[in-house]
Every structure is written in C-alpha cells, then in structure tokens.
Amino acid sequence: MTGEQIMFYLLGGGAVLASAAMLLPPMGRSPIHSAISLIVSFFFLAGLYALLSAHMLSVLQIIVYAGAVMVLFTFVIMLLNLNADELQESRITPGRIAAGILALFVFGKLATAIQLTTAGAQSVDLSDPGFANFGSVPEVGRMMYTTFLVPFELVSVLLLVAAVGAVVLAKRSMKYVDRPLPPPAGYEHPAPSDDEGGHDAHAHGGGH
C-alpha cells in the first residue's frame, strides 16, 4: 500500500463518516451540528481533490463550500432561532425505512455498475511533460476563459439572478403576505351607505 492509497482511504473514510454523522442521531439531531459535520466533510473532500491533482478545485471547495455556502447555512439556522420542540425528529415510520432501503438499493446498483465497468482501468501518467500543469489554476483558468467562455458568462448571470432572487425572497415585508389581496377588476363594493358614499369618485360624479 503506497502513501497515496493510505491518504485516499483516510480522507475518504473521514468524508463518509462526517457525512453520515450529519444524518445520524448523536450529531444529526440539531441542524447546527449537522452543518458543522458537513463542513468537516467538505474539508475531507477538498483533501481528496488535492490528492487527485485537482488543485484549483480543492481551493475552490474550501472557499466556496466551506466558506460561503456553509456560512450561509449556519447564519440561516441561527437566524431561524428554532426552539427545543422543533428539533425532535426521531420517529421511525415505515415510509422512512422504505426511503432508506431505496437509497441503499441505488447505492447497490451504482456499486455493481462500477465493479463491472472499471476493472483494469489505467490512469494517464501525470509525470509526463504534457501534464505538467494538470489541474492547476492557470490550466483550468485558461480552459474556462477559452473553450468554456460562454457557459462561464452564463454562470455569472445565473449567480446574479440567484443573488437578486434571494434578496427578493427573503425581504422582510412581503406585501402580498401581510395585506389582503386587492379586489379583482370589475368588482363592486356592496352598497355603500349615503354619508360615506360622498367620498367615492363614482358616487360623487353621479350626484352632479
């Protein structure tokens, strides 16, 4: 067993354990503990990316996932201020058992497909001079700004739309929620009394 393999199994086992801890009772009972174990899992995955020569993705994983996305998650969890009886969710129902079995079934099918198709796969040799910059920031960045320029620009539009959408959705005063809906066009208010009817434009015009 080489050092590369030992690191792979350590990091992979850590990622699986941290992800499982996110869901299972001791840690998974409260969302904030789930979020913290998910951050740990993201760090393990960043290590795996670095091990697989994806240096830029490894850094992006830490900056974007462990940095931005999970800070968003923890902020929202703390903002919601859940009380204690909100956090109780340990009933085992037949539906949840069936869902767990379905997830296990999907994993089993994937594992079978992987076993059948990847036997004897040989990797390229990264010590080859052609792969000197494989996965580095200049190499990935160049491809991003040449071959994938249009998708890259579209992703920037997507992020803008997401930012605007998040602000609009999370705004505190949503007037369609706070106030009753306006009456539809053509709807007439039922018979106003005479003393209040003077303020109404229509009744006023009728008086002349």
Binding site: P31, S41, L79, L102, L159, L169
Partner: protein
C-alpha cells in the same frame, strides 16, 4: 500513474451519493434536506475529478467548477425560501407545509 484504483474513487462517490439520497428521503427538516443535496453534488464532483485524473482531462475540473457555482446559487435561493416559509408558518418541517393538500 496513480496507485488509487478508479473503482474505489467511484465507489466512494457512490457511497456519498447514497448518504445524501438517504438524507433527502428520510429527514423531514428542510435545512438538513438542503445539506444532503449539497453532499450529493459533492459526490458528483468527486466522480468528475476522479475521471479527469484518470483520463488527463481538464474539462472535468471546469464542469465541477460550474457545479459548485450552481450549488452556491441553489443554496442561496433555497435558504431564502426557507426563511420566507419560516416567517409564514413558523416551522422548518416539510410535513407541516401542506397548504395545497386542502
């Protein structure tokens, strides 16, 4: 050459995907469900990185970058929706959101 077998990288990714899927299907807290979706996206990214490593393709890294961007957008909008729903119903449990059932 790498001494890590491709099958083991893909098996690890499949295991993470299964954990994420189990989380989405069994947990009823919308926050934990969103986190499980993030785990599933990471599993897909690991698959892309593993194949890129084996074939020497940089395209896989760029695609994984796009997936990270989409996941960030999804988290932002999803959490904003969670906030709006919580303001309306005072809950984060999807079982209690059944306005359309009546």
């Amino acid at each position: 050459m790498t001494s890590i077998p491709l099958g083991h990288i893909l098996l690890l990714a499949a295991l993470l995907f299964g954990i994420g899927l189990a989380g989405v299907l069994t947990r009823r807290n919308i926050l934990v469900m969103l986190m499980s979706v993030e785990v599933m996206m990471n599993a897909v990214n690991l698959t892309l990185v593993g194949f890129s490593r084996y074939n020497g393709w940089t395209e896989g890294h760029v695609l994984a970058f796009f997936i990270i961007a989409v996941a960030a957008a999804e988290a932002a909008v999803g959490l904003a929706m969670v906030l709006a729903v919580f303001r309306l119903k005072q809950t984060t449990y999807v079982d209690e959101l059944r306005l359309l059932k009546r």
